[in-house]
């Protein structure tokens, strides 16, 4: 067995060190080593987007990232989204628009949407559908997710920074 490595990364704003084998994916380490089970495993081959997290601010599928690649980098997961005041406008938009049924796809959609709205605060419906094509949902039929994203784009987080939370 290849030696385990110590990897230090900033996870949801907090510096953390963990042990992992080179062959372990970031998804495995988040769930099985760090107990951050909000990130979901759908396909494990990069097709479904359920495992989406932000790595250095960019949306990535954590099943196609080796945890050892993340040394010194920042990772944001669904657990880092909410604030001490509760759910963010983006999460509320998903909730209030009933943009989920089983919920397996939701953490991934929220993380991709966060990146999408950061780069494009007022996307058209077509842009939303195109940019979120890397996230699959087998329950909702997507319309409610698209509506939730449009709704989230109208909301602003309370901190005055202009982001959608």
């Amino acid at each position: 067995m290849a030696t385990q490595r110590v990897v230090t990364a900033t996870i949801n704003g907090r510096e953390r060190s963990f042990l992992c084998e080179p062959r372990q994916t970031l998804l495995e380490v988040l769930r099985d080593v760090l107990s951050l089970t909000g990130t979901k495993e759908g396909c494990s081959n990069g097709n479904c987007g359920a495992c989406t997290v932000l790595l250095e601010g960019k949306p990535v599928v954590s099943c196609l990232v080796l945890a050892v690649e993340c040394e010194g980098q920042s990772i944001e997961t669904i657990e880092g989204i909410d604030t001490k005041d509760g759910l963010t406008p983006l999460q509320n938009a998903f909730l209030e628009n009933a943009a989920l049924q089983c919920g397996i796809c939701t953490p991934g959609f929220i993380m991709s949407t966060k990146a999408l709205l950061r780069d494009n605060p007022n996307p058209t419906e077509e842009e939303i559908r195109f940019k979120l094509a890397g996230n699959l949902c087998r329950c909702t039929g997507y319309d409610k997710i698209v509506k939730a994203v449009q709704d989230a784009a109208q909301r602003r987080c309370g901190s005055g920074c202009g982001c959608n939370g």
Partner: protein
Amino acid sequence: MLDFDFACPTSLADAIEVLAAHNGSARPLAGGTDLIDYLRTGRLSANMVVDLKRIPELRVLTCGDNGLTLGAAVPCCEIYGNEQIVKNYSALSDACSIIGGLQIQSRASVGGNLCTSGPAADSTPALIALNAQVQLVGKGGSRSVAVEDFCTGPSANVLQPGEIVQQLTLPAPAAGSGSHYRRFIPRNEMDIAVVGVGASVTVADGKITAARVGLGAVAPKPLFAADLSQWLVGQPTSDATYKEAGERARQIISPIDDHRGTAEFRTHVTGVLVERVLREAVARATA
């Protein structure tokens, strides 16, 4: 996933050293969107994975009067996020913006797409259209090959054991040039090309003065349509030219039947796409 060791060199010399020490059993890692899946499913194996993303030479992206220099590990999102590339190397940004979804584009690199050497790779016909040269480096030194000579068949290329792609260089487009890449897929996004076409043209006084056409997913490797590109020189920028070019492209391909499309369908679509891609490239050249 089978066990492997991991190295993350920060210099080109160290990377070459560690790759050479493993004599072909080490796998270079850029975006990992192919490699990690292949290692997990056992399609490829490795004793050692070498992450190349922290090597400055593989992360360069300079775009100016001398052309474009693109480090092999630069991810797609940095390419279509660069206004100069979008303007002067449109075929490449077109391809990078439709490879996978957002999450894949954050990681997948053009160098990696080339090294996986899939016949349907989206960025390769664009690179062929834009006349890219591939700089390779290994223990024995460096060398350069034209991008159309890089792939030799499905998943096969000219890389020797221990050798890696360092960067791609694309010449600056002449005045009056435009380029485009487009593919046919049964879905709207997130799919593999049934046919992909890249073209660049230079236009003066209503005539094409230079052209390069690259074809993907219609032969064992991405093709440079050399005779067709030569034929286009001197032709008027007219619908008749694009139609004839499509017809000529159909003659040089050797597509297969698979679940994405039959050879007959691919042959038909190749002509249609060549026509449309040339029309758009000319429109961009004259905009």
